[in-house]
Amino acid sequence: MGSFPETVPFPAKESTRVEYGKVLAELGEEHPEIVVLDADLSGSTQTARFAKVFQDRFFNVGIAEQDMMGTAAGLALGGMVPFASTFAIFATGRAWEQIRQTIAYGNLNVKIVASHGGITVGEDGGSHQAIEDLALMRVLPNMAVMVPADGPETRAMVRWAVTYEGPVYIRTSRIPFPVIHDNGYAFELGRGHILREGDDVTLVGLGIMVHQCLAAADLLAKQGISARVLNISCLKPLDWELLVDSARRTGCLVTAEEHVATGGLGSAVSEVLSEFCPTPLRRIGIRDTFGLSGKPDDLLKHFGLTPEDISKAALAVISKKTRP
């Protein structure tokens, strides 16, 4: 993996957007068909790393996200593998209909990798915090939707995306996350992972919330409760087999996402379980409100996205269990 060390000293932190930028620059060397588009945020999205090396395959379209998505679609039709990046709110909000009408409708081979997902964007405030992007992308036919939980998963996901023929949405984050996967980690479409085994409750997370779930499992362990923790980094297609298995095994679940509590992970898991294995469930997410300026940690507290919030929800949902 290029310049990355084989083993990462714990508790190393890596930013998913930085790792995207790095792996993209590596892939540029290996895949001459990769082109990259940005809408004047290449420093923030980290596509500048690719742009520096592959100037003729990088297209800045200026502050024009709708045009960027259409241009990416055309490049895909012309046989290239385009990666289009901007902030998640502009990618999925400003250009939703362009993604819908051309990329998803046409089932075109465009990779949308959007940075600055969720409220941990922090100081820029609610206007720049995408808390609806997963819902907006998940409803689109043909679109695969994913959120990496750390650096190795980001690199694996982006490498996988190049080999996959079809539209993909990947959300990265502004702030770094702890590294929990090793460099040999391979991403598989539609596959969730058990990060920790447990019998009393299942904690289901993606992105930063995977780490909050792991910390919540520690808190619960202190109270004698064993929690299974899942990383559902691939939100669509969803690993419903793993979810149903977890529901059967633990009898209750908590979902946790840095996103509104409607339309994203909590909704997706509820949809599957209510059809295939009705099970008590609690959703941790932002409750019908917009983001705010502040430090990421303060915002996680304010919006109820901490390990304490998750463990509290776990205790509540365990009391609703209908199966032992």
Binding site: F59, A64, L77, Y105, G106
Partner: protein, 272 residues
Amino acid sequence: MRDPNQLKEIAREIRLDIVEMLYQAGSGHVGGSLSATDALVALFFGHMHLEPGNACYPDRDFFVLSKGHAAPALYAILARLDFFPREELYTLRQFGSNLQGHPDSKCTPGVEVPTGSLGQGLSVANGLALALKLKNSRQRVYALLGDGEIQEGQIWEAAMTASHYSLDNLTAILDRNRLQIDGHTKEVMSVEPLAAKWEAFGWHTTEVDGHSIPDVLDALQACGSVKGSPSIIIAHTTKGKGVSIFEDQVKFHGVTPTTEEYHQAVKELQSA
């Protein structure tokens, strides 16, 4: 390059196809299909590098119907290029048809890009043109825009991009038929001065009578030799062209003819 008289005859037959398809479908956009017919016939049969019978011919030029509601005109042309059987034309808009109400590249051979939501095709054409440049290909990209369509802001984002990246392998045709669903463009939302706008955005801009096939052919030829900037041909047209009762009528944007109107249209086109 085909004989202009021969192209004129093709255009007449395409118009007959359009009227027949829309009459049988019972819905669809007649006015904007007929206004664009002559320019499209000139482009497809007199200019573009294509291989009849093989929609996937690797060295083909690309076409993007940004004004996707003119799908009937495009479908009639693609059938005539033997990209799919002619009988399919009369399945337009029906359940199970390969000919969707607006162009769908997943269904219809020869449709390169899904369109229908206005204002988006020029960006896609830009992307195609960029890809061809990266491959040092001599293939070209053509796009048909509507004059109402350019009220969409994305068109002007794309206009900047094409110019910024010197996409001289791209020629757009603007079907200036002066009408949109709600009325005259000058009443709904003024788009003039048109040529000055495109020139100001860095485009090689030319204006032609969009119903004169020789003039359109000349303009396409001239645009092909422009270096360093994209080209646009503003084709001055009449909405509903070729059928007197449809011509310049706001109503016939998206209303299909009654049985009586249909018979009159066929009669006029047969004797034209």
